[in-house]
Structure formats: C-alpha cells, structure tokens
C-alpha cells in the first residue's frame, strides 16, 4: 500500500477519492481476514462515513491534514465511543465505551479513517497475540507463525496492507516485538509523550501508545498526530511537540551509536545476531560512530518487569467484577458472582499475572518483590542515563528470534516471556524506542533492529532510523499472504 504522503498527494490532486482509498483497504481486509484474523471488528460503515466527510472537504476546496482520509487500524484496547472495545477479553465482551480515548479523538479530528479494531493478547498481556479470547492472528509472512504481541493485530494489518498505519500500545515491547516479527516500523514514544486517557490500563507506569507503520516517515507523521500534553492524563508531559518529519534527514555522519553488549550472546538466534551486526556495520558505513556500550543491569529488566507489570495489572484489572459493565456470571451471592465472573471472564495468562501481582503486593512479600523491583528499575534507568552520556542512540536486536510457530510457546510462559528480553528495560526506563526491519532469516521471516534514544529524543531516533531505512532495501519487501 502507498505511504501516507503518497496517498495524501493522490487525495489532494483528486487522483483518488478518500472513499476509493477506504474501499480498497476494506477490500484488502475482506480478502485477507479469513487467513490473518488481524481485526476483532471492522468498522466499514463508520470508515466510509468518515471518508465521505473528507471527500466533501476536498471537494469544497478546504485544506486537509496529512492524515485525513488515511485508513488506520486501532488496537482494541483503545476506547472508541459507541464502538465495542474488548481488549480481546471475554470479560469485556460487548463492552461499548461511553467516551473516546484522547488519541482516537485526535485522529478523528485529523480526519484519519478508522477501518477497525485490531486483535491483541488479552489486555495486552502476551508476546504472540495468541492470548486473545477471540482469535489467533497470523503472521502475514508465514501464516503458520505468530505476528508477535501484544499489538499483533495492528502489526499484521499494516504489514499486509489492510490499513496504512495502526496504533498499538507498548508496555514491555508490545509495539516493537510485533513490528519486528511482521517486518514493519514500530515506535514506542517516551513515557508521557502520548496521552494514555482511554487506553485500557495494563501497567500504568509502563504503558505507552505508539504507531505501527510501513515506513519511518509514516511512523513520524502518526506520532506527530497523537503526541502532546493532555490535562486528562496526570503523567502526560507538558512539552512542545516538534514536527517529527523535520528529523527525517538521511544523514547520520558523526552520530554516536552505542551497541548494547548485554543484548548479544547466549539466547540470541545466530541469524538474528549476524543480521543485526550487519545493520550496525551499515550504520557505520553511513558515517555513524559505533561504540560498544555496557548496561550491566539490562539483564535484570525481565524479572523486574515481571514483578512491576503484574503488580500494577492486578489493581488495574480489579474493576472487572461483573458489577458495572462487561461480562457477568450469574451466581447466588456477591462473592460467588465475583469469583465466577473473573474465573470465566479472564484467560489463563491474565489470571496468571493477576495472581503474580497480587502475591508481589501482599503484606510480607511487598518489600522482597515490588519494592526491590522498583529499586532495580532505578538502577536500570541509571545504566541508560550513563550510556546516553556517551552516545545518541543505542541499538540492539528487537527480539532474540524471528517469529515462532503458533502454539510453539503457549505451554511454557517463561520461554514466551524471553521474547521481551530486549524490549522491557526500555519501558522500565520510560525511553523512546523503535524497531525497524533490518533483514530476513533463511525462511524469509523479518528481523527487527531496535533503536533507543534518550527521553524525548524521538527526533534523533527517527533520523537514524530514516537514514538506515533509506540506505537499505528491507522496507520495500511485502509479504505475499
């Protein structure tokens, strides 16, 4: 599918109407969904209505913004007023929000055309999108394989051209991992850059909304549209938002790029390692200064994450009790209703994390787990701070492997958790980070390169990514579903 800029030019020059663009996306969805299952709901009617409005605007000679008329997929953990928002959970089956999330409101105002709500791991808890209560999304490069998670629906939809761009959410890698597995660009912004109001919370101190796109440029445009201070989110940062497209300069001469030593070695697929090393060489060839950097506490990211995230989740998910909305199991008394609603309404992984989080916050265990994890979190942050005294951008593989087969890791949660090894420390530190394609393995599966920059330095991140992207052919490949 064409890029945002190309589509915008086609719309403005009246080469194509927005309705035609939308219909093309809907046709692609109709054709591919039986295989991919990226969408939990396709909002064709609303999409065509929005498209007609944009067409009317163009016809009336009114100026339109870059995102007007662009088909977009929205992860189904973002509240959309009047449109079911399920978080791929049975407990929110038929839940229809009475309000609109800040990001989707911004996109609506920008004229973007939401074509549907994309699949995810239940409540964004997972690395493969297999934890959805409704369907398993296939990887467009190999439908036997997973798209990564938890924003697997969004990544697969973008990779397969069901929409131009999509929103995902990233708590421990949920944008970057599926971006890596599906061969697209995925960006997790600085914590607080994008409002979380209306994002159904998984782990509040880690969650961040971000774009999934076919190119760095598309990601930059979408980021610009959703970023910005929101008085409804107390953790949102009150900072001026630059024009991120201004950072898209294919020149990184003299930029200091650090290679995180700890992300190479044991557990890393040799093909992924080799490919990422080649990408680093490419960056060097482009004029960047490459440094080896050590983040000694990086490896504690995973255990730290798997205490903090479930702790917060155990409280965030307490509200799903059958009393007010969503699924309710009928029972004889209140306690039985609570228990049956939650045991039937939540899937295994969600229940596992609620139990872990309840345990780690319990009296007598709090200090040993939650408090200790918070201390380690501070140390991990310090490692990054020290690293950014020496370099502008850090690089690593996004994931230790390429996409694995559906069902391969579902019986072993710990192996599944290892997929997040490279990405979770970034969330713990609140840093911006993106994943972009840097090659393919012998089976033709995409490999992702992770880039990390300092707080609010999305610009340099986009610049390095853009320079790399423009110098390499990877983004030109498309899957044949």
């Amino acid at each position: 599918m064409a890029s945002i800029r190309e589509l915008h030019q086609q719309l403005v020059s009246k080469e194509r109407s927005c309705t035609e663009v939308t219909e093309a996306a809907l046709a692609q969805i109709q054709q591919l969904e039986p295989k991919l299952h990226s969408f939990l709901a396709v909002t064709a009617e609303q999409a065509l209505e929005q498209a007609r409005q944009v067409d009317a605007q163009i016809a009336a000679g009114q100026p339109i913004g870059p995102l007007a008329g662009i088909p977009i997929g929205i992860k189904d953990n973002l509240c959309t007023q009047g449109i079911p928002t399920t978080c791929a959970s049975r407990i929110l089956q038929n839940f229809i929000p009475s309000y609109e999330s800040t990001v989707t409101q911004k996109l609506q105002n920008a004229g973007a055309v939401m074509v549907g709500k994309t699949n995810l791991d239940e409540f964004a808890m997972g690395s493969s999108t297999e934890n959805s209560a409704y369907q398993v999304t296939a990887n467009p490069w190999d439908i036997e394989r997973v798209p990564g998670g938890s924003s697997g629906g969004s990544a697969a939809a973008v990779a397969a051209g069901e929409c131009v761009v999509a929103l995902g959410s990233d708590t421990g890698g949920s944008i970057r991992l599926p971006a890596s597995f599906c061969g697209v660009v995925g960006l997790k912004p600085t914590y607080g850059l994008v409002s979380r109001y209306g994002l159904v919370a998984f782990a509040s101190s880690l969650d961040q909304i971000g774009p999934l796109a076919q190119s760095v440029e598309d990601a930059a445009i979408l980021l610009g549209a959703i970023a910005g201070y929101d008085p409804q989110d107390s953790t949102s940062l009150n900072v001026a938002i630059p024009d991120y497209t201004q950072s898209l300069i294919p020149d990184i001469k003299g930029k200091r790029i650090g290679v995180i030593q700890e992300t190479f070695g044991e557990g890393l697929d040799p093909v992924v390692e080799k490919t990422v090393q080649e990408a680093i060489q490419q960056l060097k060839d482009l004029g960047a200064e490459i440094k080896e950097v050590s983040c000694p506490r990086f490896r504690y990211g995973l255990p730290t994450y798997y205490i903090i995230a479930p702790s917060e989740a155990s409280a965030n998910l307490a509200r799903y009790d059958g009393v007010k909305y969503g699924f309710r199991a009928e029972a004889d008394n209140l306690l039985a209703m609570y228990k049956q609603t939650r045991s039937q309404g939540f899937g295994a992984e969600v229940k596992r994390r609620i139990m872990i989080g309840t345990y780690t916050l319990s009296a007598g265990y709090y200090d040993a787990y939650y408090l200790k994890a918070q201390k380690v979190r501070t140390l991990i942050k310090q490692d990054f701070e020290q690293a950014f005294e020496q370099v502008d951008v850090l690089v690593s593989p996004t994931a230790p492997t390429t996409a694995f087969k559906a069902g391969e890791k579902t019986t072993d949660p710990l192996t599944m958790y290892l997929s997040d090894l490279m990405t979770v420390p970034v969330n713990l530190a609140g840093l911006p980070s993106l994943s972009l394609p840097c090659g393919f393995d012998p089976q033709g599966l995409p490999i992702g390169l992770q880039m990390i920059s300092n707080v609010l330095c999305e610009g340099i991140l986009l610049q390095v990514a853009y320079a790399y992207e423009q110098a390499t052919p990877w983004h030109k490949h498309s899957p044949q579903v």
Partner: protein, 494 residues
Amino acid sequence: MTSAAPVKTQYEAVIGLETHCQLKTTTKIFCSCATDFGAPPNHQVCPICMGMPGVLPVLNQKVLEYAVKAGLALNCQIASYSKFDRKQYFYPDLPKNYQISQYDLPIAEHGWLEIELVDAAGDPCHKKVGITRLHMEEDAGKLVHGGSDRLSGSTYSLADFNRTGVPLCEIVSEPDLRSGAEAAEYAQELRRILRYLGVCDGNMQEGSLRCDVNISMRPVGQTKFGTKVEIKNMNSFNAIQRAIDYEIERQTEALECGELIIQETRLWEEGTQQTISMRVKEGSSDYRYFPEPDLCAIELPAEQLVQWQSELPELPAHKRHYYETELGLSAYDARLLTDDRVVAEYFESTVVAGGNPKQAANWIMGDITGYLNNHKLSITELALQPQGLAELIVLIENSTISSKIAKDLLPELLSRGGSAKEMVERQGLTQIADPGTLTTMINEVLLAHPQELEQYRNGKTKLQGFFVGQIMKKTGGRAEPKITNQLLVQKLKG
C-alpha cells in the same frame, strides 16, 4: 491480725478518633462531577468516577489546598513530598475495587489540637490531643440493599455512585482521650476548626463528618494498651459521648468478670443506646497498598505553603482566649460566640463599631439568636448590620434611649436593618431626661389623679409605680427612669 479488703482494679479508657471529613469542593477529587448532596442516584457520575476502563484520575487542586490548610490549622508538619496509593479491596460501592488514598506518605503528620475541659473541681482546663496524621482520599459510593439493611441477607442491592470520588480528608488522633466527654469535645473542636477554614460542612447527619472511635481499657498505671474495639455509626457529638460511656462500662464490667475483650467493630444503636457487634476482626486485612502510578507525587513548593498559611483565618481557640482576656467575657460566652465563625465575626464587627463587648454578646446570644432561630436564618442574612447593633448599644449606654425602647425597636431593625440612631430620631424616641420637662409632666399627672395622690400621701406608697406608669404612658416610654423616679418621689412627698 488485720485483713484488708481486696483492692478493686481501677481501669482507664484509652480512646482515639478517626474522623472522615468531606472536603467542601464543588467538584470531585479526581474528576469534574458535582459533589452536591441529595441528587437522584447516579446523576453525578462520569466515566472517571465510575471506574470505566481506560480512565485516569487528575487531582483537584482545591482538595490539596483544603487538606494542607486543615493540616496547618491542626499544627501538623506538611509533607514536602507526598503521594497517593491504591488501597485494594473488593466491594460493589467501589467501582475500581481500589480506593485512591494515601498510605505511608500522608500530606500532614504530627499535629495537635487543644480542647477545653472542666476538671474535677469544676474549673476550666485545657488538654492537648495529638494528631497522628491527615490524608486525602476518595469516598466510595452508596449501596441500597433490598430485602435487608445490610448486604448479607439482601435479595438485591443497588449501587449509587454519586458519592464515589467525593474528596475526603481522614484525620487520625493519637490515643490521648480518656472519656466520652473528652472525645466529644475533641470532635466538636475539630469540626469548629474545619468550619472556620471553610473546608468542611461538618454535617454529621448528612455524613460530611464521620467519626469512628477506637477504644480500649487498661488498669490505671499500666502503659500497655488493652484490646482495641472500634465503634461506628454515631451521628452526633452526643452519640459519640454516650457510645463511649456505654463502651467503657461494658468493657469494664467484662474485665471485672475476668472476660477477655474481643477485637471487633461495634455499631452504636441510637434506639437501644447500646453498641452491638458488627464484625470480628481476624488478623489485619491486607489492602496491598502500592503507589498510585496514574498520579504524580505531590511536591509542594515552599511559596505555595507560605501562601496558604497566610490565608488561614483566626481559629476558635485563639478567639476564645482573646474574648476572655481582652474583652472580659466569661468562658461560657466566649465559647458560645466563637462556635460559629460568622457569629464571631459579627460580634467582633459590633465591638469594632463601638459596641460594648458584654452588651454586644448579650444581644447576639439573646434576642438576635432567638430571631435567627425563629426565622431559620444565618447571621449573615440578617438585615441589621453590626454597625446598627453597635449604635443601638451606644444609644442605651449614653441614655439616649431606654432598654425598653431598644427592645421595641429591635424587631424592625432585625428585619429591615438601617441605623438605630436615625430610627430613634425619626420616631422621636429620644429619652426625656431634662428635669424641667419631666417636672412639668409629673405635675400634670399628679393634678390628673388627686385621689391616688391622696392615698399615697396617706401611706399607700406602692402607688409610686402607678404614677411612673402614667408618666411613661404620657411620654410614650421615653421618660428617663432614674431621674423620673427621683423627681416623682420629691413631688409625691409634697
């Protein structure tokens, strides 16, 4: 050999209060819903206070201001770094199934409050009661149970979330109180302070001030605390006192019989004037507190603190002291006048306008309070301004009018306001004190009543009152009583 009777153990009560005060903000603590009492169920709710998926709290800055001011007024240390925490428990009136509260870093700590008591000899004395902490939190909703008063046994329950997210300030006292009377006095003084600050209505009937009591007994002289019992459901100061007195008696009797006190929560029943067991606490509940990640920590700038400190009004204890020592009022009068800030301010304005303090106090506590009660008015709604009252007092003091005339003038002054002086002049009510004028009038009266004069001179001196009455009638009550009497007696005696 002598045998001593066994010495009966004397017990003392150890009492602490936990007070929940609804802060008088127009909107809720984390959303912009209204806080008015008495709206139809679920009419003051939004996705945020309903705990809908994806919503986030934003702290109402007025809540912080009110809590800090309350903390300052209670002599607390205000935390330079404070935070909110999640207190987790499942209950249908709590939409998120956690309450946003403050756990280990409350906004204010280590304060005290001084109460006025009467000692064994009947003399007034003071007692300092420690304030352990003060913190901010959100209120829960209300459940209406069908088929039973309580959740257990009800066939259905309806949830009303109007109150969900109404800002509360919880104030915990040290276990410094020793009797029902002390506890009631503490609660009253606390309410007075909160009302002076304008941060809380203190309406116990509507639940905007709720006191829970922790009470235990121990032998006098023992430092270790006994087993604690919590009492709830008192909706007046009187009920607090009686519930504690009842509980002291109940626990003392139990201890004297060698029984153990059970750690439990008991409810005060107004009907039977007893406490009844509500639930027995088995170990302490684990609320799994942890820092609220959706809210930033509160770091109060020093200038802000100074600003709020400077906005504090003069507090009731200070006013009482001033009234007694500088204005010469009795402790009783001082207490009555300062109970309500607006009454105290009315009184003070009257004094500033030249009214004699004792007279001003008498008028305000007597006729004016009576009038306000009859007409269900607040003193701020009174047409008579403090200047008007001060004028009236001055007119009496300098003998321009009599107290009787003043009383006659009062109803109109109260309902229509205006200047007492002008009214007196307009209606020609100035007292007649000129001896010449009075003598003329006395002579006329004596001439008109020869019979009575005769009788008086024959020894029926009681008739003096009759002549005074006639003079008053003739002058419309304006004759200055003292001079009139002097002159009259002279004339009567011939």
